[in-house]
Symmetry: C2
Subunit: 197 residues, 2 copies
DNA sequence: GTCTATAAGTCGATAGAC
DNA sequence: GTCTATCGACTTATAGAC
């Protein structure tokens, strides 16, 4: 593949991702994407089969990156506390690397799951859940984490807090992604209260 | 207004809310709404001016309920810990009372904010943020809450965890909304760790 | 209050010239 | 690889009969 066409594809995907994230997948038209790139809508179909194919490519490379990073975290031999931190940090790194894809996923899962093409999102979601549950349940079994809270509920609360940061977090030199990961982990592990009993 | 037409309006709004929540606002057509109600799409316009008008009515009655409940929580004279719990509980009660509206808001804010009609969502969001910040900052000032975490970041993490529960939480007799509110508050206040130093 | 019928526009996608 | 030109389907919304 020629160098220019690779860049062209990427440029189209970038514009598409930005629009999908901003307006939603269903509300974004192929004409709007073409306008952003500076070509006509028909020309998009030289590069992609359909609008859905663009979404698919954006989402699946995002999920693949996520899967790899979670795998790396899970194979480390650390205590539950550090492992939870690493899972939070890995998630936030993926948010930073794929902000548009993260937002597209968060806002459009329901819509995408209606389409046969995206049924794989179900198993991808389960795989993510299993990673978190593994860490949480290990922490409880070792006595490091409280046993009075349902692991699945803990997972969902933490997951949503972490992933939705894509909607508001803008990394800066003063407050980079690693700092948010620290604060996040500290809140979930130690809580908001200063003193206890 | 005749009794039947009130019920009819409500029935239409219920069907619309269910579809908007499930598929997204942009991806839901007026024909689908009419099908669910059992009438033809043209007949909807006897009851509502437009599809946007339906969304507007769903969202604004949801936000009005939320505003009232937060107001009641804030005027109670309780300690920061209880006040945070009450804010979480009030939010979850609103989730229970308006599950569709909550989900519509969460998944479609970006899309709705593009439309002039929904610019009021901006100030509504700020009002919600102020309620939470008031409680968090009071807790820090009184020494009940940690001072090393940015209140705005705390607010956003807690907010997203609480509101996104609409995507997965189904209240039951064994685990009602009040129990989730307890667990949620306990996690944020006391953390996941069993022992400390 | 719901129907029939349709206007007026936009949608995703295609065919073929260049 | 982008253009011109367009198809057919689908969209929101309206007008007027019943």
């Amino acid at each position: 593949m020629a160098r220019e066409s690779v860049d062209r594809r990427e440029a189209i995907l970038d514009s598409a991702a930005s629009l999908f994230a901003q307006k939603g997948v269903a509300a974004t038209t192929v004409r709007q994407i073409a306008d952003e790139v500076g070509i006509l809508s028909g020309s998009l179909y030289h590069h992609f089969d359909s609008k859905e194919a663009m979404v698919d490519e954006i989402i699946s490379s995002y999920l693949e990156d996520l899967r790899t990073r979670y795998e790396n975290v899970l194979k480390r031999e650390t205590n539950p506390r550090d492992k939870l931190h690493d899972l939070v940090a890995a998630s936030l790194e993926v948010v930073e690397a794929h902000p548009h894809a993260t937002e597209i996923y968060q806002n459009n899962v329901n819509y995408l799951l209606q389409l046969d093409r995206f049924s794989y999102l179900r198993s991808a979601g389960k795989q993510v859940q299993n990673s978190w549950l593994q860490v949480i349940e290990e922490g409880i079994a070792e006595g490091a984490f409280r046993a009075d809270l349902d692991p699945k509920i803990l997972y969902r609360l933490i997951r949503d807090a972490v992933w939705l940061s894509v909607r508001w977090f803008k990394p800066s030199k003063d407050y980079p992604i690693a700092s948010l990961a620290e604060d996040c982990t500290s809140l979930f592990l130690d809580g908001l209260t200063t003193t206890r009993a």
